[in-house]
């Protein structure tokens, strides 16, 4: 049986380099292009035949957009709608790369920690930029929870600093670990089913099917979690306390 982490290895399909930087095209890059194409294509089609009586595709798109708008309103308030393009792009990209990765034989982009890490760090840095732009130096007050007595400051500031630094890490690791672990489990169980033969193989095979259903749910939930935490961090930066 193969090493269960084998499907996650990346090899350059078209080796390229730019000023010494390795920008080779590999499976993950290709999959990202496919994901972008699928999202854009679906939304384009949904929007191009928009009518007062929505088609099936249009109502699906409206449902998704409404869902994202709900998240933003709940966490950032009305002025959070400025970030709607960013948040919806993030949500749709992560959701569709999770879902497309579940098609057997395809690749899950979100199982690469570099992808989720870039998203998480990018979002976090953006929230810092927004905070400093809106509040100036007062933004350092995010390290002091409201109502902290002065003598507790030496204790609270390091704790808050750590919990701030932990945000991008937990954001990146959560998505990456969930997707990788899910695919590894599916791979191991399916490998058992193949090597078990008909006599006993039906048992791991039925587990594979059940877990596949669970993975579809997890694909949605992880995209949702990433998006809502992005909104929460942005909201924290916009409305200081």
């Amino acid at each position: 049986m193969d090493d269960p982490l084998h499907p996650f290895e990346l090899h350059a399909l078209i080796p390229l380099s730019l000023f010494g930087l390795d920008i080779s095209i590999n499976k993950a890059v290709l999959t990202m292009w496919v994901v972008v194409a699928v999202v854009v294509g679906l939304l384009w089609r949904a929007g191009s035949q928009a009518g007062l009586v929505p088609t099936k595709l249009q109502s699906l798109a409206e449902l998704l957009i409404d869902f994202i708008r709900g998240i933003i309103h709940d966490t950032m308030g009305k002025d959070g709608m400025r970030f709607f393009p960013l948040i919806s792009t993030l949500f749709l990209f992560i959701l569709f790369s999770n879902l497309l990765g579940l098609i057997p034989g395809s690749y899950t982009v979100t199982s690469q920690i570099i992808v989720t890490g870039v998203f998480a760090v990018g979002v976090y840095v953006l929230s810092l930029v927004v905070g400093f732009k809106l509040h100036g130096a007062k933004f350092f007050g995010i390290l002091v929870p409201p109502g902290t007595p002065g003598w507790l400051l030496p204790l609270m500031v390091p704790i808050e600093l750590i919990s701030q630094l932990a945000r991008p890490i937990s954001l990146a690791v959560r998505l990456f670990a969930n997707m990788t672990a899910g695919h590894v489990i599916l791979g191991v169980l399916f490998g058992l089913a193949i090597s078990g033969g008909l006599l006993i193989g039906w048992l791991p095979f039925s587990f594979t099917i059940a877990l596949y259903g669970l993975e579809v749910g997890i694909a949605f939930i992880q995209a949702y979690i990433f998006t809502i935490l992005t909104c929460v961090y942005m909201g924290d930066a916009m409305h200081l306390h």
Binding site: F67, G70, I71, H73, D74, T75, P158, I159, E160, I162, S163, L165, A166, R167, I169, S170, V173, R174, A177, N178, I221, Q222, Y224, I225, I228, L229, V232
Partner: protein, 77 residues
């Protein structure tokens, strides 16, 4: 009903969120302590000990805050 209040999403979301938040804070605290130990003060194991304690405190505080924010009767959002 808004998505953040739908029972499946908010329940699963809360559960998934708190677990990794605890772990990430602990790791960040430990790494910061280790950095102080190795590059700043060469203070033996004490940096990592204190760092882990602060990390644990930060993790528990994060979990507490998340639970407070998405509690059943809370309207803080």
């Amino acid at each position: 009903m808004s998505p953040t209040q739908s029972p499946m999403f908010s329940g699963m979301g809360q559960a998934v969120r708190i677990a990794t938040d605890l772990l990430a804070s602990l790791i960040v605290g430990g790494v910061l302590g280790w950095l102080v130990d190795t590059y700043l003060l060469s203070s033996g194991p004490w940096g990592i000990v204190v760092g882990l304690m602060f990390g644990l405190a930060a993790g528990v505080r994060n979990a507490y805050r998340a639970a407070q924010r998405w509690g059943p009767d809370d309207t803080k959002l």
